[in-house]
Subunit: 413 residues, 2 copies
């Protein structure tokens, strides 16, 4: 993209009510726009980051054999009354409204019940199971407070996967595979070292649920972490009894702030029983379908990455996630501009995303924007570029290198 | 995808309240699931169709120089009060709800006002304009009636583009380019012959707005069409005066039913004035930003295509839009299965989307499903396939051909 043609730019103006570091940085860099507390629009560069994170997750979900679909935001009351989750006393984040004819409807904050009902139309026999589906869906949650930027949204992008099994054993086997897929996602995003499987409250269904928590100074949760064992306990279930039960020792545990970047729920046969979603087993007996669900906050991950990957000059995106690989600047006369144009065309043809800063502003401003946006490679074309090569500098290094277009393409493509 | 691993299948059971042909076909083929009237979930095959349509549109929008972003569903009241469009008397499709603190919010049914406010943070001078943005966004509209399947959704996927100009001339120039881009989209989707630029009511802003209407027996609109001139008049503005004004003759006009597959609005400087969104021109004078907006109902297009592209055996997707290029079936013993597996691997590695029907059901059922789903090529691997080639049949032809894997890949890739 040519910056001269973009409507958006970096900014020094942050909304007065914005307290979260992640949102401040992303607003300054022109990646997001605050519509209201906990509600952010994704500007072109921010949307690219979101899409790149989605691609990492999608690839892992597909490897698990799950199929992508898209559920609806509008949810009928009846579906959720079957499990008691329509009630605002039980679920306190519903947004609700009414159709013209007065029928109450809700806006999807999760989709377990909707999917159980959906698959009940397709699953009749043991031969139809197991199977999994996932979606990237905009969830709406009426959060009481929302002051952590993208870490707690009233509107946010979630990847939610649902798996349907014939038995607890089949569920457990998939559950372990999904757990590993989640760890793969965090590793690929560069969060592997900081992200820990965490025991949290299991709610009404099981003693524990599993979360994945990324250690973060401004995280909303407190966890007790055994770094050596790569395991943690959420404050909500942190008791002497639980520590002993998990084979951990109080003296090995470190209290840290963290942000939940994934959670997985083992519902067993509870939803199948509540909603009468059943299948016929090999002997013709009707049995409840077993459900497990697996969530990742995609936009929250973007916020967590912004919180962690930055320095005093701005954002520092991992190469796979950055909205562009190269930030291109010409410094000089027509020769420099021609060299920049050439490289822009070559890279674009090779499918490399480039931000070409062809604006009529000072070079210093361009350098500052390249750093603020956190683009992995900054490339400068000067008057000698065609002869002596382009100057290329990694965002996290201080010394540039020189290389010709061919070598440069090889490096960044 | 291997059908044996899919949770979904074709079905004979249609919800009793479903009247629309498009929805009936798409439900039968396992592409969509009806959540409530006007609200459909997209199952894996349906989502692929939707994504393929999006790709066609995205490519044309990018060629216009517009950037993709993503606005929010939650909308603040203040933004829309600036133009009087918060009022339910003026806009009768709002879904509204409240934040925990009692603040009223709406759910986005369009985004003109939201985008004007957004760009006012970035656009200060004439140097910052012109520019355009677009999004694929799930719109929520509280329609009184919704009985046309995907043709009129309460929740639907829309591509909406917004362009910001410095003058009416600049707006008009982009408007013409965008009109052509829309015609390109319909042509690529195979709707070019049936889709007509239509003069419709311009509302408060101009005498006319432009729609694109696809002729359709069960369409919701009535238009008066001059086929030779490829122009139409919407019933809502069909008067002798308008006919004369457009240089058309009553005797050349044919009354047909049609479905609106796109609409474009020339707001001129009205919104800029109402919302005080301004820029400084070359002389330093403050002037209102000119706005035009361009909508395409992506899920509606899927419905229109389902209405038009079908026969008595089911759907007939254009090759570019189909959820898979090939429907693969093995008929025979282990030899046939091996030949099918080989081809499945070859095609998948080449990036060709294949539905491999490896289920333990009769061949006749597989043939029927291939036709119902409307997959462009049906390929059969029998015991002689490795030696004599695979049997390949186009969805719209009756006689199969035989070819080896190499020739087959060349044909379908």
């Amino acid at each position: 993209m040519r910056l001269s043609q973009s409507l958006f730019k970096t900014t020094k103006t942050i909304p007065g009510d914005e307290q979260a570091k992640n949102a401040k940085l992303l607003i300054q860099a022109g990646f997001v726009y605050k519509e209201m507390a906990g509600v952010y629009a994704y500007l072109p560069l921010g949307l690219r980051v979101l899409e790149n994170i989605k691609e990492v997750i999608r690839s892992e979900m597909n490897d698990l054999g799950a199929s992508e679909l898209l559920m609806t935001s509008l949810q009928p009351k009846d579906t959720w009354e079957m499990t008691g989750r329509w009630d605002d006393e039980t679920v306190d984040v519903w947004f609700k409204s009414k159709l013209k004819n007065g029928t109450e409807i809700g806006f999807g904050w999760s989709h377990e019940e909707a999917l159980m009902l959906l698959i009940s139309k397709f699953v009749h026999s043991y031969r139809d199971l197991p199977g999994g589906v996932y979606q990237f869906q905009t969830k709406l949650r009426n959060e009481l407070r929302s002051k952590s930027g993208l870490l707690r949204g009233r509107e946010f992008l979630m990847k939610d996967m649902y798996h349907f099994s014939r038995s607890q054993e089949e569920l457990d086997e998939f559950y372990e595979r999904a757990k590993q897929a989640y760890l793969n996602v965090y590793a690929k995003l560069g969060l592997g070292e900081n992200t820990f499987l965490t025991f949290a409250s299991g709610g009404a269904f099981t003693q524990f649920s599993h979360e994945f928590q990324t250690v973060l100074r401004d995280g909303e949760d407190t966890i007790y972490l055994d770094r050596a064992k790569k395991l943690a306990i959420n404050q909500e279930v942190y008791t002497d009894e639980v520590i002993a039960q998990l084979g951990l020792k109080k003296e090995d545990l470190e209290e840290v702030r963290a942000s939940e970047v994934g959670n997985i729920f083992n519902f067993g046969s509870v939803k199948g029983e509540q909603m009468s979603v059943q299948f016929s087993d090999e002997s013709g007996n009707r049995k409840p379908v077993f459900l497990s669900s697996y969530g990742i906050g995609v936009s929250r991950l973007m916020g967590v990455m912004a919180e962690l990957f930055n320095d005093n000059r701005g954002l520092v995106w991992p190469k796979q996630i950055a909205p562009a690989k190269v930030y291109l600047i010409a410094i000089g006369d027509e020769k420099a501009t021609n060299a920049a144009e050439d490289l822009y065309n070559i890279l674009t043809e090779r499918g490399v995303a480039v931000i070409y800063d062809d604006r009529d502003v000072r070079a210093g401003e361009k350098f500052a924007d390249a750093d603020l946006m956190g683009i992995p490679w900054r490339v400068v074309a000067n008057n000698q570029a065609q002869a002596d090569g382009y100057e290329i500098k990694d965002r996290i290094e201080n010394t540039p290198k020189h290389m010709n277009a061919q070598a440069l393409v090889k490096l960044v493509a």
